[in-house]
C-alpha cells in the first residue's frame, strides 16, 4: 500500500489536476456536441471518472482515506444511474427506432 501511495506521489499534484480538468472538459464537450445518446452517456462517464481520479490523487497526497471512500460511492451511484439510463434509452429506442438525440424534438417552445 505504501508503495502505491509513493508511486502516485511520484507525479506532481498539479499534473493530476490539469490532466483531470482536461479529461473533464473532453467529457463536457462530448455531451454538448455529440448527437448519439450512447456516446453522450459515455462522455458523462468520462466526466465522473475524471472526478474519481482527482479524488484518489488528492486522497493519496493528503494521506486521508475519506477521498477514496467517496470514490466508491461515486462508482456505485454511477452504476445505478447508468442502469436506469440504459433502460430509458431502450424505452426510447422502442418508440423511435433511433438513438439519435435529434429524433426527440416533440417538446419545444
Amino acid at each position: 500500500m505504501e508503495n502505491i501511495v509513493d508511486q502516485i506521489q511520484g507525479v506532481p499534484l498539479n499534473h493530476y489536476i490539469i490532466f483531470c480538468s482536461i479529461m473533464f472538459a473532453i467529457g463536457v464537450t462530448g455531451v454538448l456536441i455529440r448527437r448519439n445518446i450512447i456516446i453522450i452517456m459515455m462522455s458523462i462517464e468520462l466526466m465522473l471518472n475524471s472526478v474519481n481520479l482527482l479524488l484518489v490523487a488528492f486522497s493519496a497526497y493528503r494521506g486521508d482515506p475519506s477521498g477514496q471512500v467517496f470514490v466508491f460511492f461515486v462508482m456505485a451511484l454511477a452504476a445505478a444511474e447508468v442502469a436506469v439510463g440504459l433502460a430509458i434509452i431502450v424505452m426510447v429506442y422502442r418508440n423511435t427506432k433511433s438513438v439519435d438525440i435529434e429524433s426527440l424534438s416533440k417538446l419545444r417552445w
Partner: protein, 461 residues
C-alpha cells in the same frame, strides 16, 4: 434519524404489497408510513441537534422543518394519485415506492452534514425521478422528458462532483463543520477552492433549475405526467434549495464577496428569462414550468442576502409556492381529463360550469402572482425585505418589474375562467372525485390562512 429508516423500509414494504397483489392496501400503507415518518420528525424537534453517524447527517431545525414540509406535500400529492396511476398502468406499486425513495433522497439532502450525503441524497432523489418521469412508456413526450432529465441530471452531477473534488483537494475534508473552520480561519484559501465553489454552484443551479441552466426544466415539466410534475416542482425543488442554503449559510458565508456577484447575475437572468418566456406560452403546463423557473429566481434572493431570516423566508415562500402549484396541477389534471388538452383555452368558462373549482384556482393564481392576503404575498414580501436590508436596490427594482409581468400571465388563467365562454361541444360538467376536493380545499385554505396569519409559519425557524 428514524424518519430515514422508516422511509427506506416503507419503500421496500410497498414493493412487497404490490408483489402480493394487495392493490387496495397500497395507498393506506404509504400514507401510514408517511404519518410514522412525520411522527419521528416531530419528536426530534426538542432534541439537541448533533451530527449523527460520524457527521454524516444532522437533524437540526432547518432540516426538520423542511423535511416535514416535504413529507406533507408528498402526502397531498399521493392523495391524488390513486386513480391517476391506475389510468396509466395496472402495476402501480412501483410508482408509490419510487416516490417514497425519492422523498428519502430529498430528506437526506435536507439533512446532509457531509458532501457524501449531499451527493447520495441528490442521486437517490433524481434516479427515482428519471423513472417516474418516463412512466408513460408509449407516450413520446414522456420518453423524451425522461431522457432529457436523465442526461441533464447526470451532466449536472458531474459538475457538482468535480466541484466537491476540488473543494476536498483544497481543504482535505468533506465535512461541513470542518469546511466551515477551513473557510473561517484560513487566510490563504487555495484558488482551487474558488473553482470548486463555482462548479458546485453550477451543479446546484442545474438541480434547482435557474437560468442559464434552466433549459431542461420546461421540456421535462411539460413531458412528465402532471402528478409527477407537481412532485418535481415542489418537493424536489424545495430539497435542492435547502441543499443550496445549507452549504452557503453554514460554510461559504465568509467568502460572500466572491460568489454574490455570480449569484446576482444568475438571479437577474433567471427572472427575465423565466417571466418573459412564461408570457409567451399557450400551454398552461408549460407556463407553470417557466413560472417555476422564475420562482426559483425569487427563492435565490434568500441566498444572495443570506442572514438570520433566510431560512424562514425560504420556508414561507416554498410553502406558498408548493400549495399553489398543487392546486394548479390538480385543476389541470381535472380539466385535461375533460378537454384533453393543457392549453389555456381548456380553462374557458370553468367558472360557470364549476364555480368552486374556479374560485380555488383563482386563489392559487393570486398566491403565485403575490397578491396580498395570500401566502405568496408574504413569501415575496419577506424575500424583497431581505434584499432591501442588504441594499441590492437594482435587484429590487428588476424584481418588482418581473413581479408585475408575472401578474399578467397568472391572471390570464383567471380571465379565461371567468370571462370567456367555452365552445359549444363542451358537454356535461366535470366530475370532481372526493379526494381531489379534499386536497384542493386544504391547499386553498392553507394558502389564505398563511396569508392572513403568517406568524404561524415564520415563528418556526
Amino acid at each position: 434519524m428514524g424518519a430515514i429508516i422508516t422511509l427506506g423500509i416503507l419503500g421496500i414494504l410497498i414493493l412487497y404489497v404490490g408483489l402480493y397483489k394487495a392493490k387496495n392496501a397500497l395507498l393506506p400503507v404509504t400514507l401510514l408510513g408517511l404519518v410514522v415518518t412525520l411522527g419521528f420528525l416531530v419528536s426530534d424537534w426538542q432534541k439537541e441537534a448533533l451530527p449523527l453517524y460520524n457527521g454524516m447527517v444532522i437533524f437540526d431545525h432547518l432540516a426538520l422543518t423542511f423535511s416535514i414540509l416535504c413529507v406533507l406535500v408528498t402526502g397531498l400529492i399521493l392523495l391524488l394519485s390513486k386513480e391517476y396511476f391506475n389510468r396509466i398502468s395496472s402495476n402501480v406499486a412501483e410508482y408509490y415506492s419510487l416516490i417514497i425513495f425519492s422523498l428519502l433522497g430529498a430528506i437526506l439532502v435536507n439533512a446532509y452534514h457531509n458532501f457524501a450525503m449531499l451527493f447520495i441524497g441528490i442521486e437517490i432523489m433524481s434516479v427515482a425521478l428519471y423513472i417516474l418521469v418516463g412512466i408513460r412508456k408509449n407516450d413520446l413526450a414522456s420518453n423524451e422528458a425522461s431522457l432529457k432529465y436523465f442526461l441533464m441530471g447526470a451532466f449536472s452531477t458531474g459538475f457538482l462532483l468535480f466541484g466537491i473534488a476540488l473543494m476536498y483537494g483544497a481543504s482535505g475534508t468533506f465535512d461541513l463543520a470542518a469546511l466551515q473552520t477551513y473557510v473561517a480561519t484560513g487566510t490563504d484559501i487555495s484558488p482551487i477552492f474558488y473553482a470548486g465553489i463555482l462548479l458546485v454552484l453550477c451543479g446546484l443551479c442545474f438541480k434547482v433549475g435557474v437560468a442559464p441552466f434552466h433549459f431542461w426544466t420546461p421540456d421535462v415539466y411539460d413531458g412528465a405526467p402532471i402528478l409527477i410534475t407537481a412532485y418535481m416542482s415542489t418537493v424536489v425543488k424545495i430539497a435542492s434549495f435547502i441543499g443550496f442554503l445549507r452549504l452557503f449559510s453554514e460554510v461559504l458565508v465568509p467568502l460572500d464577496s466572491f460568489w454574490t456577484p455570480v449569484l446576482l447575475t444568475v438571479i437577474i437572468i433567471t427572472l427575465f428569462v423565466g417571466n418573459i418566456s412564461a408570457l409567451m406560452q399557450s400551454s398552461f403546463k408549460r407556463m407553470m414550468a417557466y413560472s417555476s423557473v422564475s420562482h426559483a429566481g425569487y427563492m435565490l434572493f434568500a441566498i444572495v442576502a443570506i442572514g438570520a431570516t433566510s431560512a424562514s423566508s425560504i420556508l414561507t415562500y416554498a410553502t406558498a409556492y408548493a400549495l399553489a402549484s398543487i392546486v394548479a396541477f390538480t385543476a389541470l389534471i381535472l380539466v385535461k381529463r375533460k378537454t384533453g388538452s393543457d392549453l389555456f383555452e381548456s380553462f374557458n368558462g370553468l367558472a360557470k360550469r364549476n364555480p368552486w373549482l374556479a374560485a380555488v384556482v383563482t386563489v392559487a393564481m393570486l398566491s403565485l402572482a403575490g397578491i396580498p392576503l395570500t401566502a405568496g404575498f408574504i413569501g415575496k414580501f419577506m424575500m424583497f425585505n431581505n434584499v432591501m436590508g442588504n441594499y441590492h436596490v437594482v435587484l429590487l427594482v428588476l424584481a418588482a418589474i418581473n413581479a408585475a409581468i408575472g401578474v399578467y400571465y397568472y391572471l390570464r388563467v383567471v380571465v379565461s375562467m371567468y370571462f370567456k365562454t367555452e365552445n359549444e361541444n363542451a358537454g356535461s360538467d366535470l366530475p370532481i372525485p372526493t379526494n381531489y376536493k379534499i386536497v384542493l380545499t386544504l391547499a386553498a385554505l392553507l394558502t389564505i390562512i398563511i396569508g392572513v396569519y403568517p406568524d404561524c409559519l415564520i415563528g418556526l425557524l
